[in-house]
């Protein structure tokens, strides 16, 4: 009797263990979940990173060009003689001197 009940318990436990193992194997936890939305996000992330790099390069090039242009403008402004403005007007006065062909 005792042996009989023992066998039944052992059988039940064996079945439980078997089905649990079956469930675990069927779940294949060692295989990564291939969610298409996650895949799309990863692709988008890579694309954005590439575009960001490109934009950074363009911004740096334009900043460099602007710096060079600005420096040239400053240099030419510094080199150009600043002509003082001559103050002159036509008047009805007798001249103190006259100008003629030199």
């Amino acid at each position: 009797m005792t042996n009989h009940a023992g066998r039944l318990y052992a059988l039940a436990i064996g079945l439980v263990v078997f089905f649990l193992a079956w469930a675990v194997v069927a779940a294949r936890p060692w295989v990564a979940t291939a969610d298409p939305r996650q895949k799309a996000l990863v692709v988008r992330q890579v694309q954005l990173q590439r575009e960001a790099k490109l934009v950074s390069q363009i911004v740096a090039q334009r900043a460099q060009l602007a710096r060079v242009t600005r420096n040239r403008q400053l240099a030419s402004a510094a080199a150009a003689p600043v002509a003082p403005v001559a103050a002159v007007r036509v008047v009805n006065l007798p001249p103190l001197t006259i100008t003629r062909t030199s």
Binding site: V88, L93, P94, T99, T101
Partner: protein
């Protein structure tokens, strides 16, 4: 009280005006400055620095020659070559080979030399391309007027008139230009034209305003140009440049630059430009 002194230098009549009671020493200094600069910058004096440069093709220049050459080269760039100190050989080829007072009424000309540009201003040295010689006549007079005005201004407000190239320091000065009077409070004024310094060669009338593009006396419809600018040197350069442009272009350029100018055409018309009209 206005003190006036007149004397002859640089081939023209010089007039000094100064508004001061005791100005004799400043007048003396200003007059000496003209003679000093003439001795350095005249192409008609064999011993001048300029003649030595033209003869040797290279010189260690004094401060004044270096500065005037520098101003002339800047002017050449600024006027895109309308003002060019290397017209010396063209002037000589046209017959202007000695001081104007000694120029014979008639003589021969030689073909104008090709345009030359080789002038190098290096630190402490001026060098000319072989065959190139320079003339600093007009710009030298403007420079001398400015330097003399600086000395005269120590006595009081003054005006220096070097045969039409006028420099001012302080005061307000009425200057007769053609039939009008211009009141100058600052800056400089100069007149360039072909109604003086002209001569005959081979039955043809020539003058000293050489067009660097052709190497021959300019043939525009202008007789005289007077320009008001920041100083006498700039005015001299601008007057020559506008003269070579001809009346229409000169008026347009003076208007665009806001540079007061009086243009007299060969048919006797007087045009006011650059804000004077």
């Amino acid at each position: 009280m206005i003190n006036r002194r007149m004397f002859h230098a640089m081939g023209t009549e010089i007039e000094l005006l100064v508004d001061a009671d005791h100005a004799e020493r400043s007048l003396d200094a200003a007059e000496l400055e003209f003679h000093r600069l003439e001795a350095l910058l005249s192409r008609f004096r064999d011993d001048s620095e300029l003649s030595r440069l033209n003869r040797d093709g290279s010189i260690e220049p004094g401060r004044d020659l270096a500065r005037v050459v520098e101003l002339a080269l800047e002017a050449r760039d600024r006027t895109s070559g309308r003002f060019d100190p290397t017209v010396h050989n063209a002037l000589v080829a046209a017959g202007y080979d000695r001081s104007f007072e000694q120029l014979p009424a008639e003589g021969e000309t030689t073909p104008p030399p090709p345009a030359a540009r080789g002038v190098w201003l290096r630190p402490g040295r001026i060098e000319l391309e072989p065959g190139v010689q320079i003339d600093l006549g007009g710009i030298g007079k403007g420079y001398a007027a400015e330097r003399a005005a600086e000395l005269l201004a120590l006595a009081g407000p003054c005006l220096v008139n070097a045969g039409g190239d006028i420099a001012i320091r302080g005061g307000s000065w009425p200057v007769g230009v053609e039939h009008i009077t211009l009141q100058l409070d600052s800056g400089g004024l100069a007149t360039s034209g072909r109604d003086r310094r002209r001569w005959q060669r081979g039955g043809r009338e020539l003058h000293h305003l050489i067009d660097p593009a052709t190497g021959e006396p300019s043939e525009t419809d202008l007789l005289r140009v007077t320009v008001v600018a920041g100083d006498a040197v700039d005015a001299e350069v601008a007057a020559k440049s506008l003269f070579l442009a001809g009346s229409k272009r000169a008026a347009a350029e003076a208007n665009a630059a806001g540079m007061p100018a009086v243009l007299v055409t060969e048919d006797g018309r007087t045009l006011l430009a650059g804000g004077l009209a």
